[in-house]
Symmetry: C2
Subunit: 132 residues, 2 copies
């Protein structure tokens, strides 16, 4: 399964409370962790934000190595992680590979957590510049 991606938060299967279990499905926990683990590296955070902040919303792989200051194979490896986590989509155009963010995995993952009111602070979300 190299191309698992997607299916980050099963939505259902919420309360599997039990003696040896927990409040969350084991597979759900793994999916959640997979997405967050992909974001658990500074380089990948930079890459994702870099692409997201780009003018066209997508970036060529060739433009990613220089900003993070790592070798081409390393960046390729990181991008693969992001793709497999469902955080970005890869598209080959000509001999270049383009990456663009995909929102589903991230919003599903964070949504799965903040679904629990104990994990979401109520009002005007966090760092929202629109509050003014």
């Amino acid at each position: 399964m190299t191309t698992a991606e997607a299916t980050p938060a099963p939505t259902a299967a919420c309360c599997t409370v039990g003696p040896g279990g927990g409040v969350v499905d084991d597979e759900a926990a793994h999916q959640l962790a997979k997405v967050f683990k992909a974001l658990g590296d500074p380089t990948r955070v930079k890459l994702l934000l870099l692409i997201a902040a780009s003018e066209s919303g997508e970036m060529c792989a060739c433009d990613l190595t220089e900003p993070v200051g790592l070798s081409q194979p390393t960046v390729s490896h990181h991008m693969k992680q992001l793709v497999e986590a469902g955080l970005v989509a890869r598209e080959q155009r000509g001999k270049w590979a383009y990456y663009r963010p995909t929102t589903a995995a991230l919003s599903a993952a964070t949504g799965f957590l903040t679904q629990d009111e104990r994990l979401s602070d109520s009002p005007a979300a966090t760092v929202n510049p629109h509050s003014i």
Copy 2:
């Protein structure tokens, strides 16, 4: 500093675009990654959700080992990670340690990402239920 925590999203220092840099502060990327890395393990996801789903919103450390099926030192280690990431707060009461979720780090981290409209599917703020 072992007890860094908090300060997950510097709010400012947004666009440090540069030749060897990126769109994001190096320290900010590390902070973001720290929070997400803490969530990048299935056991810690389970622990956080377990506590968040508890009746009182807090749980004694002694009640955490059994649901995840790991040894006491291992659970203690995971909880330390969550505390250092600023995702839960620890309080000693009597001879028991109680943990409760704290929303600041998570919402700041996710907010920092979804601040970029390319990373959020909803129009305005992130995951804000007050939009209705």
